[in-house]
Symmetry: C3
Subunit: 323 residues, 3 copies
C-alpha cells in the first residue's frame, strides 16, 4: 500500500524523495555523487550556489523538530532558495484543515518544494499522489515508515570511509520495530549491494518479519556486532519505556548500549553512526559517541550536502540536468 513508485515520473526520473525502498544502486549513487560536489561548496567560505534562486522551499512540520528543520533550512538557503517555515504542530489556523487543503493552498502560493514531517506513516506518499507535476515532496520522516534523507546521508558517510558496500558487515542496533530510520537504512544499504546487515535489539523491539527485508536478527548485541565494519545506533524514543516494551534506561544500557568494551568486538576500524540527538548513557556511552571511531558529527555535516543534492535533483536543477 505504501510503495516507492509514486516517487518516479513516467520516465523513471526521481521527482519526489519519499523512501529509499525501490531505489536502484545507480539512483542512490547519483544522489551521493551530487552530494559530494555540494560538500565542497560547504567547505568554502561562501557556502552558496544559485541553483534554487527564486524557488521557495516550504518546511511543513506536523511534528516539531528543530534539528531536522534546521538542516533542511540550511540546505535550501545554500541553494539560494527562499524558505518558508510552517510549524503546523503549533499553528492554530492550519490545525483544523485537511492535509490536502493545506498543501493545495501552499501550492496555490506557487511553492513547489515541500519538506514534510508527519506523525502518520504514508502521509508524504499520500500528498505526493495528489499533487500536480510541478510539485516535489521530500519525506522528512513519516510515522514509523521512512526517513530517506537520513538513510542517504548515512550511506554517504559510510561510503566516504568504506566504499565497498558489497563486502561490508553492518549492524543496526536498537528499537528496530518503531524506527523509520532503520527501515530506510536497510533499503539503501541493500540497494548498494550490502549483503551482511544485522539488526540487533530486544526481542520485543524486533519486528516479526524483519528477516524478509534481507537482514539477520539478533537479540544478543555481543554476538551481533562481532567483526562488523559499521555500527549504526538508533535513537531510543524514551516514551516507549512507558508502554512496557522496554526495561529501564539502565537495564537497556546494560543489555544493548554501545560501550567501549562492546565496540572492541567489532573490527578495529569499525565506524559508529547515530542519527542524533544521542541519549548518552542510554543507547551509547559518551566515550564511544565522542571517540575516534564515531562519525556522528560527520553525519550532520554530510546531511546538509545530501539534502542539497536531493533538493536539486528532484526539482531538475542539478548541474547538467535537462530543464
Amino acid at each position: 500500500m505504501i510503495d516507492g513508485d509514486v516517487q518516479f515520473d513516467a520516465n523513471g526520473r526521481l521527482r519526489h524523495c519519499l523512501t529509499t525502498e525501490g531505489l536502484s544502486g545507480d539512483q542512490v549513487r547519483e544522489i551521493l555523487d551530487l552530494a559530494e560536489s555540494f560538500a565542497d561548496v560547504n567547505d568554502k567560505s561562501i557556502k552558496k550556489v544559485p541553483l534554487l534562486r527564486g524557488h521557495t522551499v516550504v518546511n511543513l512540520f506536523f511534528e516539531t523538530s528543530t534539528r531536522t528543520r534546521s538542516t533542511f533550512e540550511l540546505a535550501a538557503k545554500r541553494l539560494s532558495a527562499d524558505v518558508l517555515n510552517i510549524d503546523v504542530a503549533r499553528s492554530a489556523t492550519t490545525k483544523g484543515e485537511s492535509l490536502l487543503d493545506t498543501i493545495a493552498n501552499l501550492r496555490a502560493m506557487q511553492c513547489e518544494l515541500f519538506v514534510m514531517r508527519h506523525p502518520d506513516s504514508g502521509a508524504a506518499h499520500y500528498v505526493a499522489g495528489h499533487v500536480d507535476e510541478a510539485v516535489h515532496v521530500i519525506n522528512a520522516g513519516d510515522g514509523q515508515h521512512a526517513h530517506p534523507t537520513q538513510a542517504l546521508l548515512d550511506v554517504f558517510t559510510i561510503r566516504r570511509h568504506k566504499p565497498a558496500f558489497a563486502d561490508l558487515s553492518v549492524a543496526i542496533v536498537g528499537d528496530l520495530r518503531h524506527s523509520r530510520v532503520a527501515r530506510s537504512q536497510i533499503h539503501a544499504l541493500r540497494a548498494l549491494g550490502t549483503r551482511d546487515i544485522r539488526v540487533i535489539g530486544p526481542r520485543t523491539l524486533l519486528p516479526a518479519a524483519v528477516e524478509s527485508l534481507g537482514v539477520t536478527a539478533h537479540d544478543d548485541i555481543d554476538r551481533g556486532i562481532a567483526d562488523v565494519d559499521v555500527i549504526i545506533m538508533l535513537r531510543l524514543q524514551r516514551e516507549r519505556m512507558e508502554h512496557a516494551l522496554l526495561p529501564s534506561e539502565r537495564e537497556y544500557f546494560a543489555g544493548w548500549g554501545l560501550t567501549p568494551e562492546r565496540l572492541r568486538r567489532a573490527r578495529p576500524d569499525a565506524i559508529v553512526l547515530h542519527p542524533g540527538p544521542t541519549n548518552r548513557g542510554v543507547e551509547i556511552h559518551s566515550a564511544v559517541a565522542d571517540g575516534p571511531q564515531s562519525v556522528i558529527l560527520e553525519q550532520v555535516t554530510n546531511g546538509i550536502a545530501v539534502r542539497m543534492a536531493v533538493m536539486a535533483l528532484i526539482t531538475g536543477n542539478a548541474p547538467g540536468q535537462p530543464a
Copy 2:
C-alpha cells in the same frame, strides 16, 4: 472615527494600505494593474524581482495567522525584501509594551514597512497616524473593521473572470456582522462601480445599518443568490456559535451553506469565492469548494501578486514611480 484619509499623503498618493473605504476606482485599478504584472513574475521559474532589495518588511502579528503571514512573507521575499516575523501573540517581551512603543522600536531599527494584524478595530489606523513619513503600514486585518488586501485580491480575481463590474450582481454570504473581509469587499466593489451587491445571512448576523453601505440585505439565500454572477462565501468563525448568535453547524449549513443545488440558482457561469480556510460542510459543500465554478485557489495565488503590488506601490518602489 476610523476613515481612510490617513492612508494618503498630502499629494493624494497612497502611502499606507489600511482600508478599501475611500479608494477611488482609479486607485483600485492601479493596484490591480500592477498586480497583473507581478502575476507574470510568479508564473516564471525564478519568481523574484529586486524592487524591495535592502528593505525590511516586518510581519507584526498580534493575532497568530500562519496562512496570512505566509502570503505576506512570500510576497516580500519575491520583491527581494528581508522579512522579520514577530509573533506578538507569543512574544513575552513585546506583550507588556504599548503598541506605539513596539512600533517606535522597530522603526528605530530602520524597518520601514509594517504588515500588521491586530484584534482591535482601528489599530492599524492608530499606528499609521503616529509614524513618520518614511513608514508604511499595511493592515492585514484589524478586529471587525477591515482587511483591504483580501478585498483587493478578491476583486482582482473577479476581474480576471468578469471585468465589467458595473453589470455584475454579487452576493456576499455569511456572518456579515463580524466580518472585516465583507466590509472591505463592499467598499472595493463599489469603488469599481458594482451596483447590485447583496448581503445574505441570518438576521442576527446582518448589521442593522448594512443598507447604508449601498447593498441589499437578504436572509433567504435561495432568493438572494438568484441570477448572481459572483458568490462570495465568508468564513464562519466557529466561536460565534457559543455566543448563541448562531444555530448549530448543521442548521447553519441547512439554512445558508452553499450546496450544489443552491449554486444552480445563480447564473450558470457564476464564480464562487471564499477567503479560506473553508469549513467544509458548514458554510460550503465540498463539491462546490472543489467544483469547476470555484476560484478559491486562484484567490490564494492572486493574493501574492496583489500583496506584492501593494507593498511596491505604497513604498514608492513600483516600476515607473517617481522616487
Copy 3:
C-alpha cells in the same frame, strides 16, 4: 573564573565578543569606528553590504527575547548573512541535549557565528572555550554576568553626543546587583577613560564590592545625579519585587524613578539612556523617556550598526581586515 582572555586569539585579535571586561580603549574604539561606517549603510535606502554573504548566523536563544533576537537578525541580514533562529526555550528536541552537544551539531552544519543568550552566567564563555578556531561566539546576555553588545551600543550613543569620555560624569541608576548590562557598561566606560561613574540604587540592589569596579555608590538619586552628563537608567526586572528585595513599583518610582524634576539636577545638556523596553512610571517617567534629552531610540538604531560591526570584526570580514 570568568574572564575575557578567551575572547582573544593568540595574536590578541578579538575572535569572540563575550564581555567588555578586558577590552582596551583602542579595541572599543575600533568597534565603534567600524559601527560608524555601518550606520551610514543603515541610512541608505538599500541597507545591505555583502560582507557576510554565504555565512550563516545562528541566533541561539535559551531565553526568549524577541527584541534582542530581532536586532541581531537585522544586523546579520544587512551583512547579507543567512540567519537560523533557534528558540531553545521552546524547542523540544534541543531541550534535553547538553549545551555543547547543541553547539557541536550546529558547528557540524558549518554554522560559524553563534549569537547566544543564556540564563546562566558564563554560558557563552564556556562555549567559546570549547569550540574550534573557525567558530565565533557573541554573548547576547548570560545570566547576571555580561551583555557586551548592549554596552558597546551605549558608549557608541554617548560618543556621538559627548566624545570626551575622560571628562564625563556618568550615572547608572537601578538594580545594579542583578544587571549584566550595568556590569558591561562600567567596563566599557572605564576602557574609554571615564573617571566619574556613579552607581545609584536602593542599598539592597547595590553589590557590596561595587566600588572595586572603580565607581562610586549612592543610594540617594538626587545627590547621585547632580551635574552628571549622562544618565543610564536600568530596566527593572519586575520579578525581583516578589523576592522582597524591592518595595512596590510606586515606592520604587518615588525613590529612584527618573522624573523631569530629578533630571533638572543633572547638567542641562545631559542625555538619558535606557536599554529598553522601558517600564514607564516605574523606573522612568514618560515625559523623560519621550523628552528631548532622551536618546533611547537612538540606542536602538545604533544597536544594529554596532552588532554589524562586532559580527564583521570577530569573523575577520570587516573592510580592510587581513583574511
